[in-house]
Amino acid sequence: MKEGFTQSMAFLHSWAGLLFGGVLFSIFFCGSLSVFRPEIDIWATPQLQGRGELNRAAALARGLSLLEQEAPESRQWRISLPSEREPVLQVSWQDDNGATRTRRVAPHNGEAVLATEGGRLFARYHHRLSIDDGRTSRVGRWLIGVLGFAMLVILVSGVFIHRRLWRDLFVFRPASSRQRSWTDVHNVMSVLALPFHLVIVCTGFAVNYWIYMPAAIDTLYQGDWRTYRADVGQGAGNDMRLADVPGAPSDNLAFAALMQRAEAVLGQDGVSSITLLDRGRETAVAEFRGRRDDRIAQQMDRVVLSGVTGEVLTEVTSRPPLFATQSVMVGIHYVLFGGAPMRWLYFSCGLAGAGMIATGTLLFVHKRRATARSVPERRLLTIAEHVNVIAMAGLPLASIVYMWGLRLLPQPLADRPHWEISVFFYTWLLSGLYATLRPVARAWIELLTATSLLCLALPASGWLLPGSDLPTTLRQGDLATAGVDLVTFAAGLGLALFTAYLIRRRDTVLVLGKLAPRPG
């Protein structure tokens, strides 16, 4: 603008940050939690406690016998094999009316596992604001796209403001004015994790890229995105359609022989799911899908075999270069690779991102407060203060209450995921109402205190369910269940110390002078 480049970047950075800070915080926060989606699922499911070592061969045998027993006549069987991180065996079949029936069981004893939203709530919130259901709506994903764009613009403009980026990184002035030490915290969290922030937002676009920029679909596919999706899926879904009429009964190869041929392509233990069409008939076909937790790329390898002769009908193990690039970028976003160290890196960088957004937004509101003269600006800042406390203190409270709900809601409960999701959003709504009725500073302290107490107490919920208590899960070496308890406890401890620090320092940046009245 008129005042020069750096100033206009500062204007863009701070006002866009103020406008989007609350909702961007919520996306970074939920995205960080969804790194541990499978661990939260296990933690919430008592049937998976004491599961022991995973035996994939036994799980496969159990899946086949379950289908034999439930749906011997069905024309379509599907088995999704358990993995170490997602130890649930899922079988589904097509019933007589053409509807798909699904059963999810624990692989070690065949017990039906709890139907729970689990960690998926956080994933769904962060990639579609929990709005879109199925394939009908794109509103949530479009909003996320707009927010991702805003995030990138805020990041890039922030880099332009900081010409002294490298020097600022090593500056921390806790003893100087509070505003300055908060600025230092903001800079450290932004700069240290800047590569992560840029990569995570950009790769996020790689997931639903074709929704956001469909220009080439409009020109080359006449806007027919379904054909495009089929094209890019390399036939997946098309070559596994049931014929209208099943073929005549015929001898089939034994399943073990088919499996062996598939593993010759996909590698030992390389199969993640199996679909069988028209078993025992001339039209028998078997599809084997590869795993995607043993590589970065997310597009699964695939082999389709004739059930009669065992010949390979389709084999997809390579893909065109740009599709392969997209697949790797999605993999970088989903972080199924790299094991626990990589997940912890993502988790901490993601939370640093949430912290960067929180400190930045709070700082800016505080700075404008000191100079705001006009009534509309003061009103805007008051609204921003409330949005901040609702997003940054209300969301963690809603999340921990949701975790309690996962363990406390009755186990046999019709439509349980729906109830779980309601617990999350109603808690958030109520804490938001509460925060608008209380003075902002009080609301901050009270919501943070409640959150830290509920986090500290969360391991106690394990004693209410069979085999889920902390000593038992630790003894069994169940790092998923024990880990969620322990990490939440540690988070509660950290939050309690932080809240105590805020109260003791009467921190003016965070609580905006309500605990410590501003002079004048």
Binding site: M1, M9, L12, Y212, A216, Y228, L322
Partner: protein, 85 residues
């Protein structure tokens, strides 16, 4: 001032998107790749392009000139992209 901010925000968002859409449509007609690959390439290229346009829209001296470049560029690109064969 208000007009200035609106003009710059509009250029950074709607203007940038329409320009990128037109550019992607034009590129899709000339890129010698599989058509499914073109969709990925153009959609990926649009992300940094939109961010660059947004930075430009707020950093430039004259927003009217920026709008001029965006519209002046988008129209021929759109025509190339949508030209019936």
């Amino acid at each position: 001032m208000t007009f200035e901010i609106l003009a710059r925000t509009g250029a950074a968002t709607v203007g940038g998107y329409l320009f990128c859409y037109a550019a992607a449509a034009a590129a899709s007609r000339v890129l010698p790749l599989l058509r499914s690959e073109v969709v990925i390439l153009t959609a990926f290229a649009a992300v940094p392009a939109m961010v660059a346009i947004a930075i430009w829209a707020f950093g430039c001296r004259s927003i009217l000139r920026t709008w001029g470049v965006l519209i002046g560029g988008a129209i021929p690109l759109y025509v190339i992209g949508m030209w019936p064969l």
